[in-house]
C-alpha cells in the first residue's frame, strides 16, 4: 500500500481519499484505525449539542457521576461512562490514569514522578493531571501498545 501526500494551496479542510480495487487486510486495519481516530465525541456545551473530533479531546473525567470531555476551549458533558468512552475510542490513544479520568496520550507533553510515586501528567495546554500508583502499570503497558501500533 502506498501513501501519497500532496500539498494543495488554499485548501479549506484536509482530507484523505482511498483508492482501491480490493480491500486487503492492511487496508482494512488502517480503515478501522482511522474510523476510531476520526470519530467524534458528542455531548452538550452551554446547553447546545456539540460534536468534536476525539483527537481534540485532552482528557475525559467523571465528576458527580457525569462524564466530561475537556478540549482546549470546551468542557463537553457526555452521556457515556468512562468505560464506554474507552471501548468506543480504544484506537484513539486513550489511557485510564485514575478511577475518574482517562487521558489522550497524544495530548501529553511529558510525565514527572514525585517522591510519593504519584505521576504528574503535563498536558500540551499546560494543565496537570495526577496518575495514581495503581494505574501506572496499566498506563505503561498501554503506552507500549500505542508505540508498537505506531511503528507498524
Amino acid at each position: 500500500m502506498r501513501f501519497i501526500k500532496t500539498k494543495e494551496q488554499e485548501l479549506k479542510e484536509n482530507y484523505l481519499e482511498l483508492h482501491y480495487d480490493n480491500i486487503d487486510s492492511e487496508t482494512r486495519e488502517l480503515i478501522s484505525r482511522l474510523d476510531t481516530t476520526l470519530s467524534n465525541v458528542e455531548g452538550s456545551y452551554e446547553e447546545k449539542h456539540v460534536s468534536v473530533p476525539v483527537t481534540e479531546v485532552l482528557y475525559f473525567e467523571t465528576v458527580d457521576r457525569k462524564t466530561f470531555a475537556y478540549t482546549d476551549k470546551m468542557c463537553i458533558e457526555m452521556r457515556l461512562t468512562l468505560n464506554n468512552v474507552l471501548e468506543m475510542y480504544s484506537g484513539a490513544g486513550l489511557i485510564r490514569i485514575s478511577r475518574s479520568a482517562v487521558v489522550n496520550v497524544y495530548k501529553i507533553d511529558h510525565l514527572q514522578g514525585d517522591m510519593n510515586m504519584r505521576t504528574v501528567i503535563f498536558l500540551k495546554n499546560g494543565e496537570k493531571l495526577i496518575m495514581n500508583r495503581g494505574y501506572k502499570k496499566e498506563f505503561l503497558a498501554e503506552l507500549e501498545k500505542i508505540k508498537e501500533r505506531n511503528q507498524k
Binding site: V105, Y106, L111, N116, R118
Partner: protein, 141 residues
C-alpha cells in the same frame, strides 16, 4: 492489580519461608556456624514470612495514599511486630544481649534496599514513558 490475594497468600508465605530457610542453611554451612536455637529460629522465619506477606498484601489497598506515609506506616508496623516478638521470645527463653538490635537490622536493611530498588525502577519507568511520548509527539509533527 492485586498481586497478593486470599488464593495465593499461603503459597507466597511458603515460597518466602523456603527461600529464607535455604538462605539461612547455606549461610550457616558456608560459615561453619551451628545454630544453638535452630527450632526457635525456624519458627521465627515462618512468623516473619507471614507478617511481612500480610503487610505487603495491604499495599494494594493503600495505593490511593501518598507513598512516603504508607512506607513509614508499614515500616513502623514491622518494627512494632519485631519488638513485640523479641520481647515475647525473651520471656519464653533468654535471647542474646544484642538480639533486639540484630532483629531490627534484619528488618531494616531489606526494607531500605527494597524501597531504593522500588524508587530507581519507578524513575526509570518514567524516563522510558517520556521517551515513548516524545517519539509519539515527533511522529505527529
Amino acid at each position: 492489580m492485586k498481586l497478593i490475594n486470599r488464593k495465593n497468600f499461603i503459597s507466597i508465605v511458603c515460597i518466602s519461608f523456603t527461600l529464607i530457610v535455604c538462605g539461612k542453611l547455606l549461610l550457616e554451612k558456608s560459615m561453619g556456624f551451628i545454630d544453638a536455637h535452630y527450632t526457635e529460629n525456624i519458627f521465627a522465619c515462618l512468623f516473619f514470612s507471614i507478617i511481612i506477606t500480610a503487610i505487603l498484601a495491604l499495599h494494594f489497598y493503600l495505593q490511593r495514599f501518598p507513598l512516603i506515609p504508607v512506607l513509614i506506616a508499614q515500616y513502623l508496623s514491622v518494627i512494632g511486630v519485631t519488638v513485640g516478638f523479641v520481647k515475647i521470645a525473651d520471656m519464653i527463653e533468654k535471647t542474646s544481649t544484642n538480639g533486639m538490635w540484630q532483629m531490627l537490622l534484619s528488618v531494616t536493611i531489606p526494607f531500605v534496599v527494597s524501597a531504593i530498588v522500588y524508587y530507581i525502577a519507578y524513575f526509570r519507568q518514567i524516563k522510558k514513558a517520556n521517551d515513548i511520548i516524545a517519539g509519539l509527539n515527533q511522529n505527529q509533527l
